[in-house]
Subunit: 133 residues, 2 copies
DNA sequence: ATAGGTGCAAACAGTTTGCATGTAT
DNA sequence: ATACATGCAAACTGTTTGCACCTAT
């Protein structure tokens, strides 16, 4: 009847996710967690991700063309920004106060919406502004 | 210097896309096009999709958890609605006139945005409104 | 004739699974 | 002790690529 055992790999994975604090790909989680627990396997990361998503602790986020990423769930409603230079995904604070339902055709019912902004993050933008050239 | 030759497989692929008129997965395109051109290969479908996307004739659309889909591009800027009941993807007419850039943190540059609404389409919604019960 | 396209199979990337071993309880 | 977790490798799915052959121009 036991369930969800405490293991060092699970701990390392949770720690990695909290430490980086942004949506991560499975491989990114492995890389970060491997620092404190060398030998950790990618399959283990996936198995834990799966359980964490099912338990509601993690949420999946996907951006066009990119693989799935995972972030801590339970936060308030928010959206994402994808940096097309460094490929990192960032959380945005707010949700624009828009009446999305008005975009729908007659008879459609709106349940949720997802918004992804794309561009360059502050650090990439800074690097690509080399005076002139 | 010739480029972009006219072949029966390309024709079949274009025809399939126009015939179905909604965002399609590569396999759906193959299935439809195979009807008029048996023996068509999936690799050919992918190669053509790629060129069509590069040429701007096709646009990629992706919805969380679903595979990529492709639809005729060149239309005006628009967004999508994903029916969670029948899994079909619909085009929405407009784009809300919102200042998305204001959601970004300092220093970030906005290049594009993507919005996906989710819910039930008119026909699914109708079926799930059984008077009482 | 010849550059470009096609079919097929092998190669890849991301994710999942089978199995023997390891470990929290 | 024993059920659950892990590591590794094999399996899978979706997509891309290498290569010999075919075809529109």
């Amino acid at each position: 009847m036991s369930q969800d055992r405490k293991t060092k790999q699970r701990d390392a994975i949770l720690a990695a996710i909290e430490r980086l604090g942004r949506p991560l790909k499975a491989q990114e989680i492995l890389d970060e967690a491997s620092g404190e627990l060398p030998g950790l396997g990618l399959a283990t990361v996936y198995r834990n991700i799966r359980r964490l998503v099912e338990s509601g602790w993690l949420a999946e986020v996907e951006v066009m063309g990119e693989g799935k990423r995972y972030e801590r769930a339970g936060k308030h409603h928010h959206h994402h920004f994808h940096c097309q230079d460094c490929d990192r995904l960032f959380e945005l604070e707010d949700c624009p106060d828009v009446d999305f339902a008005s975009l729908l055709p007659e008879g459609f019912r709106l349940a949720a919406h997802e918004l992804v902004l794309t561009g360059s993050c502050a650090s990439c933008e800074r690097q690509s502004l080399p005076g002139q050239s």
